[in-house]
């Protein structure tokens, strides 16, 4: 192509203008739309280049909101003038208002007609829209034409509503990310049953005020489903219903704000990752419930019911996953919820869980929860305990107050529990403690002090319990500075010696 063009500057020092059309376009694709368009004024050679770019990524740049508005108006000019046959990426991010409906529609149609591969529409930058009281009238209703695209590989939507055409066909679609989208009960079934190549479905904070149905259509290739919800504004009396016959990997991220989780029709080889790093305070919405119209005494009761309901929801979810392979990464609040289960004498579950990672300060009210988890996971192979500074808000939380009604004495409690762990673990081989807080961060070779390492925590009790695993090969003790593996000198002693494989 470059050979047939007349290239000004051939004999001057203007090297860059000699680059091929394709290379110049790849350079312009790396610039914000206004800067790309501005190159049109450089010389004749550059005049139309910006009209060929296949990557459109309009988003706020710094705090300059007037620039974003200019970019949005420029986008409409670009859509009119665009020269090439295809668009690879069309991504816009800004706070939508309903006046823009027809404008956005024209962009979306443009992108689909140009065989767009990646389409991202994020209409709630900085959560401006969610902050206000929003009903569906303020959202962009996605043009139904999108659901007939044969080129679309990646679709990402935030703060839109979906309206399906009579026939949905997304023959190339591999990744769908839906963020704060209100989904009808059959919406996900509709999408998944008509996207034969779908590999990943991510749902972030969808249907925050009502039940969410995640029904993945059967008889299609394997696919990963990721669900991320945080308690912020999710209606705690809503449910989630998952039907996942061909889903091989399921992720729960954030927190578990709903009161009921049901998973039916599971794939025989389902792997579940529960990674709960959401915050506890958000999770309970504590502040909102503290004040009641009849005075604050009642507030506490309401909160306790809420906590109890979440304890049940969490335990039920775990029970629901009994035949799946589970990886659990739980944070303090999850552990304390299960402490409640343990102290209220709930039956341990029977989970097929080989890897567990717990972030916990190993305080008194964490131990019962950890015991509950360990009792529920006979097949555990590796346990990792991450210890950080004590979370004061957790210690002062309503949940901890509830636990205090079941006061116990640590050493006698562990002695009574330890019997349950004789022959309990089938394959626990490795335990790792990582302590990133506290003073004990390093030790001289040969002088590791177990009590120093666990100072201020109940770690020693836990360790005594884990020693009951007959397969246990070694325990790793790690800090910010150091890491060393130890084993028990012999079964009867409590003397730890460095482990040499």
């Amino acid at each position: 192509m470059a050979d047939t063009e007349t290239i000004p500057g051939e004999h001057s020092d203007d090297f860059i203008s000699r680059l091929s059309h394709e290379l110049l376009c790849s350079i312009l694709e790396r610039l914000p739309l206004d800067e790309a368009a501005r190159t049109g004024v450089l010389s004749q050679r550059w005049k139309d280049l910006w009209k060929y770019t296949a990557f459109i990524d309009v988003k706020p740049l710094g705090d300059d909101s007037s620039r974003l508005h200019r970019l949005i108006s420029g986008l409409s000019q670009f859509v009119r003038l665009h020269q090439s046959e295809r668009i690879d990426l069309f991504s816009v991010k800004f706070t939508y208002n309903p006046d823009m409906h027809s404008q956005v529609d024209s962009w979306v149609l443009f992108a689909i007609n140009k065989h767009v591969r990646e389409l991202h529409l994020d209409f709630d930058v900085g959560d401006d829209n969610v902050a206000g009281d929003t009903d569906d009238g303020t959202r962009y209703e996605l043009h139904p034409f999108v659901f007939t695209s044969g080129s679309l590989v990646h679709l990402g939507l935030k703060f839109c509503t979906l309206k399906f055409p009579s026939s949905v066909r997304l023959s190339s679609l591999k990744v769908v990310t839906l963020h704060r989208i209100e989904l009808a009960d059959d919406a996900l079934e509709m999408i998944t049953s008509n996207s034969p190549l779908l590999q990943q479905l991510s749902l972030l904070e969808c249907n925050r005020t009502r039940d969410l149905f995640i029904h993945v259509a059967p008889n299609r290739g394997s696919c990963t489903v990721m669900i991320e919800e945080n308690s912020y504004d999710v209606n705690p009396s809503s449910r989630m219903d998952i039907r996942a016959p061909d889903v091989e990997d399921l992720f729960f991220l954030g927190s578990l704000p709903r009161f009921k989780y049901r998973i039916t029709d599971k794939s025989a080889c389902l792997h579940v990752n529960i990674i709960l790093h959401g915050k506890f305070v958000e999770f309970l919405g504590e502040e909102e419930h503290d004040q009641d119209q009849d005075g604050n005494q009642l507030g506490v009761v309401v909160n306790e019911l809420g906590i109890q309901r979440h304890e049940e929801a969490f335990r039920e979810l775990l029970a629901n996953l009994q035949d799946a392979v589970v990886v659990l990464r739980a944070y303090e609040w999850c552990i304390r919820l299960l402490s409640l289960s343990q102290m209220q004498d709930s039956e341990p579950l029977s989970m097929n869980c080989t890897y567990i990672e717990l972030s916990t300060c190993l305080q008194k009210w964490d131990l019962p929860g950890i015991i509950f988890i360990l009792k529920s996971c006979r097949k555990l192979e590796k346990l990792v305990i991450l210890t950080a500074n004590i979370d004061e808000t957790m210690e002062a939380s309503q949940l901890t107050m509830m636990l205090m009604q079941h006061d116990y004495e640590e050493s006698s409690y562990i002695t009574s529990q330890i019997q349950c762990f004789e022959g309990h673990f089938e394959s626990l081989r490795t335990v790792e403690f990582k302590n990133t807080a506290g003073d004990y961060q390093s030790w001289e070779h040969g002088c590791f002090d177990l009590h120093g390492f666990f100072s201020g925590s109940q770690g020693v009790y836990l360790l005594n319990l884990l020693n009951k695993s007959s397969k246990l090969e070694y325990v790793v003790f790690a800090t910010n500075n150091q890491k060393q593996a130890f084993r028990l000198k012999n079964k009867e002693s409590d003397c730890w010696v460095p482990y040499e494989p």
Partner: protein, 152 residues
């Protein structure tokens, strides 16, 4: 044995570069030549690239082969220094990378050139890259008017 296999490249100005086959294979152009003809000891001509540029390109290929396991930060620092060069050198490099078909190197140089555009006025860009403005005053004003949104 495959690890020690050597390939000889000949630059446009006749210089020979004896390099590991694995290094040369990062160029898809050379990969096709090797797959098609499998010239065991033959010399592969690279007529579009002079010795100075070729040695620089091969430096990139070697780095990106050997250090595949070093962490990302080290890597990006090296890349950043690698493209810290005069405009004419960037031009030679991208032309060579294009001819030899080494996509990551093309991307790296495009990123670099784009970063030289970012935040600059058209006048400043013309100055950086020696671009001759062959518009008439009227044509230039007309363009600015039509795409007023792009100019503050």
């Amino acid at each position: 044995m495959a690890f020690t296999k050597k390939v000889t490249l000949k630059s446009s100005d006749g210089e020979l570069f004896i390099i590991d086959r694995a290094v040369a294979l990062q160029s898809r152009t050379i990969q096709y030549v090797l797959e098609d003809t499998n010239p065991v000891d033959a010399i592969i001509p690279v007529p579009a690239v002079d010795a100075r540029t070729l040695s620089k390109v091969l430096e990139y290929c070697k780095k990106h082969l050997i250090d595949l396991n070093t962490d990302f930060e080290d890597y990006s620092k090296w890349d950043k220094d690698f493209v810290d060069a005069e405009v004419w050198m960037l031009y030679d490099l991208i032309m060579a990378a294009d001819y030899l078909h080494i996509p990551p190197l093309i991307d790296l140089i495009c990123d670099k050139i784009a970063s030289m555009f970012k935040g600059q006025t058209p006048d400043k860009i013309r100055e950086i890259f020696n671009i001759d403005n062959d518009f008439s005053k009227e044509e230039e004003e007309d363009f600015k008017k039509k795409s007023g949104w792009a100019f503050k």
